[in-house]
Symmetry: C2
């Protein structure tokens, strides 16, 4: 399928797992959490229950590390029938603090890509993570200079992106989103007639997974690593 990128004025980059490693840290945290509660349940069961708890709390807590930690605390109380040790609760809080303080690990070629594209396009970060976390990571990463600003979306659905384009004062055909999540960074954009390029990350949170019928016939490109975007846009 031929896709025409010549109208693009603004490129939105997802941050977590597109610019830098993130989901891996959640997987690691889940493993630590299951270890802490191993006297109560199997890792498999704990993973499943934690996922359910996160989904249940998502409308209240939204995305990000703090809501994840609150769900882990609630899960520990529930799974243990209120017998979990205080020191375990403390350990759960510490898992969260370590996640927040993780050094930024850039994905391959990211800086090069941003440096090149920032010469011809206005670049923004479009994320549903926590603003403070994302600003901290951008600062640490040294990538801040390439971005016009950070857009925090409470969710990445069609209406959130429509609002974003309205706010940027551009037409859908002038916006390209690049990210690792089909559900959040690709499909809603195609549905509102904007552009999207998919760069899969090796791990995808279950909540972000989509079925093949949802992607069928949709006009987006998939690339295996971010630097390939330069071939599509230049």
């Amino acid at each position: 399928m031929e896709i025409e990128y010549s109208n693009i004025k603004v490129i939105g980059f997802d941050a977590d797992d597109t610019l830098w490693v993130n989901e891996t840290y959640f997987r690691d945290a889940e493993a630590e959490f299951a270890d802490l509660l191993s006297q109560f349940e199997t890792k498999n069961k704990i993973d499943q229950e934690l996922f359910k708890m996160e989904l249940k709390n998502l409308p209240m807590y939204g995305y990000g590390i703090k809501g994840f930690v609150l769900s882990m605390v609630e899960m520990a109380l529930e799974l243990s029938n209120n017998t979990v040790a205080n020191t375990t609760i403390q350990e759960i809080l510490n898992i969260g603090k370590r996640m927040i303080n993780k050094p930024v690990e850039l994905l391959d070629g990211v800086e090069d890509v941003l440096q090149t594209l920032s010469q011809s396009y206005r670049l923004i970060v479009a994320t549903k993570g926590d603003l403070l976390d994302q600003e901290r990571k951008l600062q640490q990463s040294g990538l801040l200079q390439y971005f016009h600003h950070i857009e925090v979306l409470s969710d990445k659905k069609e209406e959130n992106y429509s609002k974003l384009l309205n706010h940027l004062d551009i037409k859908p055909s002038e916006f390209l989103m690049i990210g690792n999540s089909l559900k959040s960074d690709v499909l809603p954009l195609i549905n509102i007639k904007a552009h999207a390029i998919h760069v899969p990350f090796h791990t995808t949170w279950l909540h972000e997974q989509v079925t093949e019928t949802e992607t069928n016939g949709k006009a987006y490109k998939t690339i295996s690593a971010l630097p390939e975007v330069l071939k599509l846009l230049n």
Copy 2:
């Protein structure tokens, strides 16, 4: 002091305690928290220690309810020397959920002011709260239609506002901020040569308080209730 508002193009409104009640709910939550831990310490001591804990965690957690709840959990473990009951931890999580689900209580005259000003200015919400919380409140309040968009700032310091003005593509003299916090909504704006109007709320979080020397000679107006802004701007 005469202040000239004729260049204003965009007006930023603080949300919590400017458009609707918020700080009161934190005070109520602190009282509930102190009740829950009353076997360990006096209310006064608990309030003081919780405030210290919040400040310690602020660089990691930022502003908003979720960070506040995480600090309460940590405080409960520490104050009780790890003897606090699991049911108390559960109660602390519930305090947070109730805060998140509180119905929006608009301050007097807010809708009228927004309706009038939205005819002549671009209005935005500029908040350091949680985006999801603020969007939910705007939606519930029926005020969404008056605002061009919501700007979430990780903090409200001069550099955050400078970035915001850059992002809005306007000069400082074209921006007016209206809010209840001298520290966050007024002084940083005056310092970057933008405009600000102060509308005090009856309760101010200790962290937001400023000394008289900080406000001395600064070119901003104070009004006693939001509707008075119409007299200054029209």
